[in-house]
Amino acid sequence: MVNGVFEWERPLIELENRIKELQAFTKEKGIDFSEELATLERKADRLRAEIFSNLTPWQRVQLARHPRRPTTLDYINMICTDFVELSGDRCVRDDEAMVGGLALLDGMPVTIIGPQKGRDTKENIRRNFGLPHPEGYRKALRLMQQAEKFGRPIVSLIDVVGAYPGIEAEQRGQGVAIAENIRRMSFLRVPIVCVITGEGGSGGALAIGVGDRVLMMENAWYSVISPEMCAEILWKDTGRAPDAAAVLKIGAQDLLELGVIDEVIPEPLGGAHRDREQAAQRLKEAVVRHLRELLPLSGDELIHRRLEKYRRMGRLAQETEERLQAVSESPRD
């Protein structure tokens, strides 16, 4: 990527820039280029549809990582009012790679949490590039348990490459923290709506990703392993991450078909970063709609359905009794 532009979208970006220039020129000089502009716009529309309607899995991964893609706090600020950010796990540290707090969403009080990437280098260092330590997961859990205490629904916005592969993170038991979060989250008595907004990497995502509804932005990815690491394992070549992205089935549409997510939230053509406000509005609409469906349910009912949902996860085959019989009667080796 050069200047936030991918190679494969360059023709479109150049065309869009020419349109902008022409518009500026029109305004400045007062010359009418409306006919030329219309032609260019039509061409741009065609090109946009052509490029963005047939994105490869890897192109979507690239969009999910776009530096101008809205971060968790960006979304919170766009979809909520009265956000009160809360800090700390009450045990070790405040992990700024995980944010959360209390806010109004469409008039409803909610607890909203999520990993937070930095929007520049300085912020990225403070936020460990959006990679939480165990205390980040524990902070999220603390806030979710607070939500449960007050009967507030929970919105979890997920955008994380994965758990942090660092010494301290291992020392302070990120495996245990992730397991504990999964366990506790599964039995919270309030509605939980999770949205993979960007990257959904492995245990780091699942640690805040068990919900009554799991939604996914159109260009987000969610996987048991990052495409790079998968490529490294399969072909000893991280350069083949695009191939790995394809075989892992990590796109929103694939996950919908696998029954792992409940809905795909469409993004503005070309990705959330091309129209952040619109992306946020669509996210908000979907989250609010699902929350309103869940709010009438009792705690028991929520947990019951949530457990049923995860109980069904997985695909396997069951041998028939007869087949097993036949196999075990055949001679060994």
């Binding site: 993170a169 990120q174 245990v176 504990e180 640690a207 048991v224 696998l258």
Partner: protein, 296 residues
């Protein structure tokens, strides 16, 4: 959670698909006996570099008599070490078969190879047996099968293990040693097994029976970050690799060499993540003692 208890008694809530492989490739129900060790085979001990005879090693529970290095133990051999006798063991869910839900390239072939090599149909053996004369639900991950990693079948078998143990009000012991963590070839469905098994552990709590998690070398990734970490009691064999992120990935991330002893059982004990380190020879007595205290 007495409210949900009944719901999960019914079987087959997972999505079942027909086996995609031909008849000839079908794995067989594995023999519930440790394989005979041929005479004269030897291994070099990675702990002390000494040459050890496998028959002797097997007699010593696969622990080096010189340096105490704990070798991997297969599922069936482990069961024979822990239970009163293998004859008390009734295996569960032998009819579940792994499929290739993502159409992941080479997955079927690798599975078939693993099955042929190990005589196992999947990376976990589950069932009920007797320990100290009392019934216990037991699951053992076998490192030799796909690094003991968890896909849909492993997750399902473990989930059913906890469900049946809840029904029968008997304790659960799970021996985990899966270097692979989640099974990459089943993609996101493997990740979901972490949620499914963790929920099964918590629901099992309603039985008021203990769940003892035994961590063996290596317990990593998605296995560690789900059911293996959620034991009421967590025991670890000495010197096992225990952690979430693999040591090579950590090393690459921090760009310096790892401190010695990083991610060992001893490291986990010091950091408060396990209850105790138990040598293999003491494992059975320790399990028996904890279970006895729970019957008192």
């Amino acid at each position: 959670m007495p409210v949900f208890k009944d719901l999960f008694r019914s079987k087959s809530r997972y999505a079942t698909v027909k086996p995609s492989q031909g008849d000839g490739d079908q794995p067989r129900p594995q023999p519930a006996r440790p394989k005979e060790v041929p005479d004269g085979l030897w291994v070099k001990c990675p702990g002390c570099q000494n040459i050890l005879y496998q028959r002797e090693l097997a007699r010593n529970l696969q622990v080096c008599a010189r340096c105490g290095h704990h070798f991997h133990v297969g599922a069936v051999e482990r069961l024979s070490q822990l239970l009163d006798s293998l004859d008390t063991f009734e295996e569960w869910d032998t009819d579940l078969r792994t499929v290739n839900p993502l159409g992941f390239p080479g997955y079927e072939e690798k599975l078939a190879r693993m099955q042929a090599q190990t005589g196992l149909s999947e990376a976990v053996v589950t069932g009920e047996g007797k320990l100290d004369k009392y019934p216990v639900a037991v699951g053992v991950l076998d490192f030799s099968f796909f690094s003991g990693s968890m896909g849909s079948v492993v997750g399902e078998k473990l989930t059913r293990l906890f469900e049946r143990a809840l029904e029968r009000r008997i304790p659960v012991v799970v021996v985990s040693g899966g270097g692979g963590g989640a099974r990459m070839q089943e993609g996101i469905l493997s990740l979901m097994q972490m949620a499914k098994t963790s929920q099964a552990v918590e629901r099992f709590g309603a039985s008021r029976q203990p769940y003892i998690s035994v961590l063996t070398n290596p317990t990593m990734g998605g296995v560690y970050a789900s059911f293996a970490s959620l034991g009421d009691y967590i025991l670890a064999e000495p010197g096992a690799l225990i952690g979430f992120a693999g040591p090579r990935i950590v090393e690459r991330t921090i760009r310096q060499s790892l401190p010695s002893g990083f991610q060992t059982s001893e490291f986990a004990l010091k950091n408060g993540m396990v209850d105790m380190i138990v040598e293999r020879k003491d494992l059975r007595p320790t399990l028996a003692r904890i279970l006895r205290l729970h019957r008192a």
